[in-house]
Amino acid sequence: MSAGPLFARYAYPPNALGYCGPPDPKALVDAGSPDARAEDLVSVAKRFSGAWPYLELIASSNAIADPLDARVVEAYWVGSELLEGIPATSLLAAIGSHPDSGLGGAAQLREAAMAGGVAHHSFHVFAVYPWLALLQSGKREPALTVLERCRIRWGRIEAVEGENVIVRSRPLGFDGRDLVLLDERSEQACYRVDGVGFVDDLVPGDLVSLHWDWVCDRLEPGALAHLEHFTARSLQAVNATEVRG
């Protein structure tokens, strides 16, 4: 898959909710179409100010000229070998380069980066967002819900119901000290709304990735292994930090 559709399918769910990226979600859908101009995709992707520094970092660390190379985009959202070998100091510098980075108040960020943090979306959600600190200070909700919906999760489709699916997935939990993955349960997600969708012909048994309330992609076994591995690694990194709540 080329970079545009790959970036769009993962960036669309929070963009449609108004949480990040350009104001009009159609701009992302258009820029992410296979026949869109490369400069339009760059322009839109830079508006995702949380993701862009990671894409630049992954690309530069692997001698890839284009931050929107499909290998880079996949590494950030799903995970791949490209994330190995990026020094924690480079990761911290990339995160800190964004002018919004100080607003989150993530006191444990440096510790988590040094404890094995990676330039993966899950690390951004767990370590850069302010929600883990809020969770540890006793604000269970909405902190846990935001952490759960904003990470890229995986699951197996149980049923297809119109434009929705029922998926078996492992939700994020909090044991009072650490973030953990709980036992599987069923959840509902959509794969198409108002003509916008990124995966067709879903059937029970398909392995898929999810972001917020959306199905983003089908996952091949290798991609699933990467997503599981880098999610676990990010959890391990943030759980290794001192609780300050």
């Binding site: 929070p14 949480y19 990040c20 830079k46 100010s49 002018p99 989150g104 935001v146």
Partner: protein, 77 residues
Amino acid sequence: MCMSRLHRAVTAPAGGWMTVENAEGRLHRVSLIALEGPEPQIGDWLVVHSGYALRRVDSEEAAAIVSELRAGQEALS
């Protein structure tokens, strides 16, 4: 990939929600459930993340953040 962002309150709180405006003039409805202290008032600056107001920012800090954001956006463009 979202970041915490600075917004200004443009409506009075109602039922735990209020409307805020970001630096681009875009309006959002945000929940106040995660915000500690008294309810914010129109004109207050708030740090917002994923649809939730998280903390208040005084006008001096807000001005500094807006200035940094503009510089950052120019660097990205």
